[in-house]
């Protein structure tokens, strides 16, 4: 075997190892985006795979227990609703009536999310007339201390 062949062989070995890692990695890590309607249509066939479920947080569906940190809400795409459960604090961007994407698994009619992906809105719209801002909301409830620490 000449040096060139050996060299080429080495390169092929490295390249195919990387290729193997990439193919395996994609098979292992691919997560499908899915809407509530698509998820319901798939039914029980979806149990062992992780999905990314996107939809609107249904108004009035958000419940959070500070003690257990359990967050429950429904995601909807106008046709179907999926109940979602998550353990942890709701992200700052998470709001009823706004969009959210969750990642997790669907079992027995409940979507157990490990992650809530909250995309930061790039629009900095000033609050509309008459609409209380988050700031006003909290200011009434937390009493300012006499002196700033």
């Amino acid at each position: 075997m000449t040096k060139k062949t050996k060299l080429l062989l080495g390169a092929v070995v490295i390249a195919s190892t990387i290729g193997y890692l990439i193919v395996g990695g994609i098979k292992e890590a691919a997560v499908y985006y899915i809407t509530p309607t698509e998820l319901k249509a798939k039914g029980p066939a979806t149990t062992d795979r992780a999905f990314r479920l996107g939809g609107m947080v249904v108004s009035g569906s958000r419940r959070w227990d500070p003690q257990t940190l359990k967050l429950a809400f429904s995601l909807s795409d106008d046709k179907e609703q999926v109940a979602v459960e998550y353990v942890g604090s709701p992200p700052d961007l998470f709001k009823e009536g706004a969009g959210a994407i969750v990642e997790g698994k669907y079992m027995n009619g409940l979507f157990r999310a490990d992650t809530i992906l909250a995309k930061h809105s790039e629009e900095y719209r000033p609050p509309e007339e008459g609409q209380a801002t988050a700031k006003d909301h909290y200011r009434t409830l937390v009493k300012p201390p006499a002196a700033r620490p």
Binding site: A11, I18, I22, Y32, P66, Q67, D92, Y138, V142
Partner: protein, 666 residues
């Protein structure tokens, strides 16, 4: 006034860029030095005009001239001066203005520094750089003009995005990254000039060596500081999320690293000529691609702070770059023949070749993973994403291979390394590494990857120290100098080699930091009543109280926590939430207490509105500081490698440098 002057100077700069590119090419074709000089004059003029435009923009920002739309969107009466000044790169238009200015500056430096040394190449280099400038100037004159005015003039502006006015690192992260991106234009321009003129020897490589290291170092700063910003501002407890924009900055860094290594082979052995040109083209195209990803909003990202219409223009530009550059490469393929061949598989050349393959494989995997949602939607019509598990599964093994090569590469001889010299060089580091890995095992490190990561980093560190120590000892024996003088003289006589070794040491520190902070991370989220504590590792975190107050530009709610280490108080920590007037949701402010051993990281994730309870997320991440420190070590090494020689390229120096390049001398 500002708007008119600003728009006028940018339009003028655009026209001059086109003119300068044209006369440079014409001058060199017709052999008319006057035209070439006129082209270089254009470079000076563009630098003057863009500097003027940047100053105008800053005047508008600092003077709060809200008739400028950019100022109205990114500054407000309450915004502190510091964040008003750096709002220049807070959004798309200002960022591209900064980009244009950096490019103008670097073009000017290139003409001034290399104009005399590379008279054949410089007209083409000028033309290429002016074409790139023209593209970015086109963006700021028309689709993304920072000097757009608005009527009626608002009384107050919206202020910068709170995430961008929450941390002083915003002053370094974007400009560092941009300088790194822009810097690669210069090696690219030289590569293209070399292709056009057919002067594909080592001349252009020598000229771009420093530029490449400088750009690489700026990219490194941008990436590391960006990670730190993400860690200290975004409040998710991590520094790297394989987010599209992060990946976009990593891509040119990876191919640039490959380039920095493979040009050494061309310098020493006159091989890989076409490979080097291809690498510099790819790296440059990736820098433009990175800006495209950051600025087009095509993939959602935590770092993407603007959606805009400039995306398609960027795609066209990238297409043109790739088409012309690779067309030229094919056209010149006859002049790109290697003048020698690899002698042995056990040689530095082949270690570098393997390093290049792995780096490109790494880059390819990152690119594929980043674009996977787009690709799968285009090909199969389903949206599929691959997240962190994919990047870890592919890149951790490749990365471990790279660290291994990083440890052995600089110590193997060029051409052919004998078994005997290998044994002499590596036997001691090998024993020490095995010992170190044993200690890691004993301390509780389990799993193949973490053990390998620690062991290989240790191996790298030991070989680097051995090189320095061995070299200094030899020098001391021969010259009778003291240890420190011998060490500093050794370094200054072989700056490139020893600077490079220090960079390797920095990488090893970063790898140790990343591994430890990922594998041994502790995390807990609980709701605490006043006076209650949570237990995390060695620490107890007690919730003391909640307070709130109004600041000029925001309202702050802050939790006070006391951290104990087995009843011994170590810190008081105050994570907060800040409410900005223009925002619907609060912005969290984390509190991090860093030591060389570990970080305690507190996030105030929620609180009862009467102030009696607070939900806190606490993390303990070991050795995070090593990542930031290792990053600065990498920059220090780069500085040593590019530091100019006082006695310019004396013959003796070259001999010494060559001697320093011989490994295994000890």
């Amino acid at each position: 006034m500002i708007a008119t002057l600003g728009r006028f100077s940018l339009w003028l700069a655009f026209a001059i860029a086109i003119y300068g590119a044209f006369v440079s090419l014409l001058g060199v074709r017709r052999r008319r030095p006057a035209l070439i000089e006129s082209g270089q004059g254009a470079v000076f003029a563009i630098f003057g005009l863009t500097t003027f435009a940047v100053l105008l923009m800053e005047a508008g920002l600092v003077g709060r001239d809200f008739s400028l739309e950019y100022v109205a969107r990114n500054a407000s009466l309450d915004t502190p001066l510091f964040y008003t000044i750096i709002a220049l790169w807070g959004a798309l238009e200002g960022s591209i203005l900064l980009w244009v200015w950096l490019l103008a500056l670097m073009t000017l430096l290139t003409v001034m520094i290399d104009g005399k040394r590379q008279p054949e190449l410089i007209p083409y280099v000028t033309a290429v750089l002016l074409c790139i400038s023209a593209f970015f100037l086109l963006l700021v004159t028309f689709p993304a003009s920072p000097f757009t005015t608005m009527l009626p003039v608002p009384l107050d502006g919206r202020g910068p995005n709170p995430l961008l006015q929450n941390h002083p690192l915003m002053a370094i992260h974007p400009p560092g990254l941009y300088a790194g991106y822009v810097g690669w234009s210069i090696p690219y321009a030289f590569g293209i000039a070399a292709l056009i003129t057919g002067r594909l020897g080592e001349g252009w490589i020598r000229t771009v060596r420093r530029w490449s290291i400088v750009s690489w170092a700026f990219l490194t700063v941008g990436i590391i500081v960006g990670g730190r910003w993400s860690y200290e501002v975004l409040g998710w407890g991590g520094y790297w999320a394989w987010d599209p924009v992060e990946n976009a900055s990593l891509l040119p860094w990876l191919t640039g690293t490959a380039f920095l290594h493979s040009i050494m082979i061309q310098e020493r052995r006159k091989m890989l000529k076409n490979w080097n040109v291809a690498l510099v083209i790819i790296t440059f195209a990736l820098t433009i691609f990175g800006t495209f990803l950051t600025r087009s909003g095509i993939l959602s990202s935590v770092h993407a702070f603007s959606d805009s219409t400039v995306g398609p223009l960027f795609l066209v530009f990238i297409g043109l770059i790739l088409f012309f550059s690779f067309g030229l490469l094919v056209y010149r393929s006859d002049k790109l023949q290697a003048e020698s061949d690899i002698d042995s598989l056990v040689s530095r050349e082949s270690a570098f070749l393997a390093n290049n393959l792995l780096l490109l494989g790494f880059a390819f995997a990152v690119l594929l993973g980043t674009l996977f949602p787009l690709l799968s939607e285009a090909v199969r019509g389903v949206k599929v994403s691959v997240g962190e598990p994919f990047f870890n599964a592919v890149n951790v093994p490749i990365g471990l291979g790279l660290i291994f090569l990083m440890a052995i590469g600089p110590l193997i001889a060029w051409r052919h390394a004998s078994l005997d010299s290998l044994r002499r060089t590596f036997i001691r580091p090998l024993y020490l590494t095995i010992l170190g890995a044993g200690i890691c095992w004993f301390l509780g490190v389990r799993g193949l990857y973490p053990l390998l990561a620690f062991a290989l980093s240790l191996f790298t560190a030991i070989t680097v120290i051995q090189e320095f120590a061995g070299g200094a000892m030899t020098r001391r024996r021969n010259t009778g100098e003291g240890y420190l003088i011998a060490l500093s003289k050794l370094t200054s006589r072989g700056r490139r080699r020893y600077g490079g070794l220090i960079v390797h040491l920095g990488v090893a520190l970063v790898v140790v930091g990343i591994t430890a902070s990922s594998v041994f991370k502790l995390e807990q989220e609980v709701t605490l009543k006043k006076g209650e504590s949570l237990q995390l590792g060695r620490y107890q975190v007690r919730f003391d109280e909640l307070s709130a107050w109004q600041e000029p530009h925001r309202f702050v709610v802050q939790g006070s926590f006391t951290v104990f280490n087995s009843n011994h108080k170590v810190a008081e920590m105050r994570p907060a939430k800040r409410f900005y007037p223009a925002e619907q949701q609060p912005i969290g402010t984390v509190d991090v207490r860093s030591t060389a051993r570990e970080d305690i990281y507190l996030v105030l994730s929620s609180f009862a509105q009467d102030g009696t309870t607070a939900t806190v997320k606490a993390l303990v991440r070991p050795l995070v500081m090593w990542i930031w420190f290792g990053g600065w070590v990498m920059v220090l090494g780069s500085l040593i490698a590019i530091w100019p020689d006082r006695r310019r390229a004396l013959a003796t120096d070259q001999v010494e440098e060559r001697m320093a390049w011989q490994p295994g001398r000890s």
